[in-house]
């Protein structure tokens, strides 16, 4: 496979097409407009490809529901405010166990916020942004290569567990250009019996999330929950970077992790043995892996482009076994690795450990 130089948003589009995505509906919003633009061009060239510029984010996700039920690999994309609008449909897909891929190229918020890269949607993405008792798989890529790999994999995970899967990246990941190699996608393995295409001569099918009897609804909730536990067991992913000899571990994801890697190089030049723990699946969160790390490392510093969201999952994982500090830059501010390195030097003392312990 050839290495190509591409913009992040277009990489997502190309990876989706290669993974067999044949349906896209979306509504323009910065900073992810290159995704619908790319999909409109590419889906035109694919047999059976459907691109719809919908009247709203709400309509887009419900078009995706229809396409998914009808058996297509389907995707929608947006940025923070638009993802808020899609939550109704995401909850519905979780209830009805329909697969789809949802891209969130996060921007500054709350409200209209701005169009710069941010990580403030972590709770919405990982704690169930819509109503009701459900989870979705959330993947946090940190490079062009991962945008491609995880987008492809998102379709497989969505099918395997019949669930919406979200790619949680940000405006910076979408806009930057990096070399990428598109891997060969796996062939689709999705049973015909799940697809709604008319009853033929047989029994008619119902896809629904309305279950009026509380006992039946409870059973459905537990069935979904058992599925989520299987996902947590099988699909949790993280990356360790220079962690083997580390005295201090930075915890960051996505663009934040890229900045952290730069900071770690600088810190090591200054003689501080820093490493990185990077969750790749934000839900399921790599809780056990982080807890194991806290058995031998005493100091952690969480960095997010937000006022502190993932840090709560880090605290839940570590359960007071280590000292945890936090540095956040919300609002669309993207700090440099130098800034983060300086923050670490300020907040960490060899004898005391992390000074402003959370």
């Amino acid at each position: 496979m050839n290495k190509v130089l591409m913009q992040g948003n277009k990489i997502i589009g190309e990876a989706a097409i290669r993974a067999g995505c044949r349906f896209y509906a979306g509504y323009p919003i910065t900073p992810q407009n290159e995704i619908p633009e790319y999909m409109s061009e590419r889906l035109r060239q694919e047999e059976g490809g459907v691109f719809i510029q919908s009247e709203s984010e709400v309509a887009a996700i419900h078009m995706v529901i229809g396409a998914s039920a009808a058996g297509a690999r389907a995707m929608t994309s947006s940025s923070s405010p638009g993802i808020s609008l899609k939550q109704e449909g995401i909850s519905s897909m979780a209830a009805c166990e329909l697969p789809a891929v949802i891209i969130n190229m996060m921007r500054g918020g709350p409200g209209l916020g701005n169009i710069s890269a941010a990580q403030g949607d972590y709770f919405q993405a990982t704690k169930g942004g819509g109503h009701g008792d459900y989870r979705i798989i959330v993947l946090g890529p940190d490079s062009a290569q991962e945008l491609a790999d995880l987008t492809m994999e998102a379709f497989d995970l969505a099918d395997r567990y019949r669930t919406p899967v979200m790619i949680l990246a940000d405006g910076m990941m979408g806009q930057m250009m990096e070399p990428v190699i598109f891997k060969t996608p796996k062939p689709r393995d999705y049973p015909e019996s799940f697809i709604m295409k008319g009853a033929g001569a047989g029994k008619s099918k119902i896809i629904r999330g309305l279950i009026l009897d509380p006992l039946d609804m409870e059973e459905h909730n537990w069935t979904l929950d058992r599925k989520y536990q299987v996902i947590a067991q099988n699909e949790t992913r993280h990356e360790l970077y220079k962690a083997d000899d580390a005295e201090l571990i930075l915890v960051a994801y996505g663009t934040g992790a890229r900045i952290a890697k730069g900071a770690i190089k600088r810190l090591r030049d200054l003689g501080l043995r820093a490493g990185l723990f990077r969750p790749i699946t934000l839900w399921p969160f790599p809780t056990n892996e982080l807890r194991d790390l806290a058995k031998k490392i005493e100091n952690f510093l969480v960095f997010e482009m937000s006022t502190g969201k993932m840090v709560e999952d880090v605290r839940l994982a570590i359960q007071g076994r280590a000292r945890i500090g936090f540095h956040g830059r919300p609002g669309g501010v993207v700090p440099t690795p130098v800034e983060l390195a300086n923050v670490v030097m300020r907040k960490y003392d060899r004898k005391e450990g992390i000074i402003d312990h959370y």
Binding site: E55, S56, A69, S204
Partner: protein, 259 residues
């Protein structure tokens, strides 16, 4: 030998309707099922029930059905139809579903000329939630949220969905009917048949609006309800064909004037 003259349509399940006495939903359901049988499309039809009294329509229709969130039926129908263009896709929507919370999805599906059929039940009230004001409630109509009657200043006007949608070039067929008498029921059946036939022929968006009695929330007897449709409701919502694009085109070809 006895000849069977009346039976349950093949496209209906053997379930007893949960609808109130005198409600129009059960009649509309049956007409759709009869048309599906008649056109022999049961095996390729996919239906979408609304949120509202007809939310459980899949308990009655023996065709594939997928629920939609409130008002989103036409968006979900769009997704299905675009992926499976040779299937027959219909959404069944009430006045709150179509004309309030889902007006954007319905309007834009119509404007895109999606080749789907919408059966629109207009009973001028929110039925399932207990009789609140609908976007199609009559001026002066008392509901649980317009206790002194619908007021133009506070609540605006009843929305004439069929008239508005017929202005959209993407729509092929729009007719407003009712189900308050044997004759009107037969007329509605014809309209539903035409709407589905146009979809089969790939002509674009078709919509059948049905003025439908809701005795429970109108606080009337079923007979009074049927009369109210004639005497009040159909004055705001005149019955008839609002759009028949193929027929109009035929006429134009023959050099006749369209009214």
């Amino acid at each position: 030998m006895m000849k069977k003259v009346f039976g349950r349509p093949r496209s209906m399940k053997k379930n007893i309707f949960h609808y109130c006495a005198g409600c129009g939903h059960s009649i509309a359901h049956r007409l759709i099922a009869e048309v599906i049988d008649e056109l022999d499309i049961r095996g390729i039809t996919i239906g979408i029930p609304p949120a509202g009294c007809a939310v459980l329509a899949y308990n009655y229709f023996d065709v594939d059905m997928i629920e939609a969130q409130h008002g989103r039926g036409p968006a979900t129908a769009t997704g299905i139809k675009r992926v499976l263009p040779d299937r027959i896709v219909f959404s069944y929507q009430g006045d709150g579903d179509l004309a309030a919370i889902g007006i954007a999805e319905s309007f834009h599906a119509a404007n895109r000329g999606e080749n789907i059929t919408v059966v629109f039940i207009n009973n001028a009230v929110y039925g399932m939630t207990g009789g609140q004001m609908a976007p199609t409630s009559m001026l002066g109509q008392k509901t649980t949220t317009s206790p002194v009657g619908r007021d133009i200043v506070l609540d605006g006007y009843p929305i004439q969905v069929s008239e508005i949608f017929s202005l959209l070039p993407g729509t092929a067929y729009i007719e407003r009917c009712t189900v308050n008498s044997p004759a009107s029921i037969l007329k509605t059946r014809k309209a539903i048949r035409k709407a589905f036939q146009y979809q089969i022929d790939g002509l674009g968006f078709s919509l059948v609006e049905i003025l439908s009695p809701c005795p429970t929330n109108w606080k009337m007897t079923p007979i009074e309800s049927c009369r109210w449709i004639d005497e009040v409701m159909s004055k705001s919502f005149p019955l008839g064909v609002l759009k028949d694009l193929p027929a109009a085109e035929q006429k134009q070809k023959r050099g006749e004037q369209t009214p």
